[in-house]
């Protein structure tokens, strides 16, 4: 079985698009947030890989790399909603800075809490520091500061999928009602994966979330070395 799969150049692409289409259909028919396509496509892909004894590298080389490679240009295109909504965001510069800074600080304090609570060692603690930011920054930051990049990546993905699935309900729960504030909260807490959901909520949310990825990402890059020193 694994020999067959290893010889299929489009196995990963088909599996990903197929499971995503399936999850999307379930989502459309049942109209529930639980059937988030990103979450269920990921779960189904993992299940198929485990069941067939296929390793991640085979899946990745089988066309999943095509999708992965498009993340960079897709993230760059977040400049489009940002450009469309720039005047609105400029009027709210104070809110953008205050929101992102407060969010990044809250995250760093959370990491410190984990450090104390679980008596983590230095590298373990550093592994958690970049978890709210976009995968690419997070991975290199974790490497740079001496964490475990693979675990940082996994934590970032859990964060992103959770943000993509739950952010609309969470924002309601927390009474975050302003569209700009909603976007900032999604982008600061759950980077590009959350932002892919924010774009669906509206152009303003999408733009604010895109901006928050950049601002919170850079603030984290600046603050993480300071907090890493506390371990």
């Amino acid at each position: 079985m694994s020999e067959l799969i290893g010889s299929l150049a489009y196995f990963g692409l088909f599996l990903t698009l197929g499971t995503f289409a399936l999850a999307r259909e379930a989502n459309r028919r049942l109209g529930r947030e639980v059937f988030n396509p990103l979450l269920w496509s990921t779960i189904l892909c993992c299940m198929v890989l485990l069941a067939t004894g296929t390793d991640f590298e085979t899946y990745y080389a089988g066309g999943a790399d095509l999708l992965d490679r498009l993340i960079t240009p897709a993230t760059i295109c977040l400049a489009i909603p940002l450009y469309r909504q720039f005047e609105l965001l400029k009027r709210n510069t104070g809110a953008v800075l205050a929101g992102c800074a407060a969010g990044v600080l809250a995250h760093m304090l959370g990491c410190l809490l984990m450090l104390v609570l679980f008596r983590l060692d230095g590298p373990q603690y550093i592994t958690l520091l970049p978890k709210s930011i976009t995968t690419a920054i997070g991975k290199s930051l974790s490497e740079e500061l001496g964490g475990y990049p693979a675990i940082t990546m996994a934590t970032i993905m859990i964060t992103g999928i959770f943000g993509a699935v739950a952010s609309p309900s969470l924002l309601r729960l927390f009474h975050v009602t302003d569209p700009v504030a909603q976007g900032l909260a999604i982008g600061t807490a759950s980077h590009a994966a959350g932002t892919s959901r924010a774009v669906e909520l509206g152009d303003v949310q999408g733009a604010a979330s895109s901006l928050a990825i950049v601002v919170a990402g850079l603030l984290t890059v600046a603050a993480a070395p300071l907090f890493a020193g506390l371990a």
């Binding site: 496509s41 295109c77 690419a136 990546m153 774009v199």
Partner: protein
């Protein structure tokens, strides 16, 4: 041809972003340089929205499915994550909720203060 041109422009921006990343040794990914670059090109008028809008819109629309492969890479970290599972889960769920609530409220507070401030002027 319209789509080909737009794709070529976006590929050029991505390419330029990778060059910038190569030249600047910061832990910032090419996508962030590219985002800032594309924004600057649009804002300065060097590029018009119509020149990237369709293919760009398509990429934004399919972004969730693009994120599936890196999410599946979670499988490769399964062994390593064991010791750190509880802190990872707490930060992944509760931490994310806390950051979302704090960011949202800080932003809303700043907006209220901003508006209040303007009234007193």
């Amino acid at each position: 041809m319209k789509y080909l041109r737009q794709a070529a422009i976006l590929a050029a921006v991505t390419f330029a972003a990778e060059i910038i990343k190569y030249l600047l040794p910061l832990p910032v990914p090419a996508s962030i340089y590219g985002l800032v670059l594309l924004f600057a090109l649009l804002k300065s008028g060097a590029l018009k929205l119509e020149q990237v809008e369709d293919v760009g819109g398509f990429l934004l629309e399919v972004m969730p499915v693009l994120l599936v492969p890196p999410s599946v890479s979670f499988l490769t970290a399964l062994d390593a994550i064991e010791d750190l599972l509880l802190p990872v889960l707490i930060m992944g769920f509760l931490g994310t909720m806390a950051v979302m609530a704090v960011t949202g409220h800080a932003a809303q507070l700043a907006m209220r203060l901003g508006k209040g401030g303007r009234k007193h002027e």
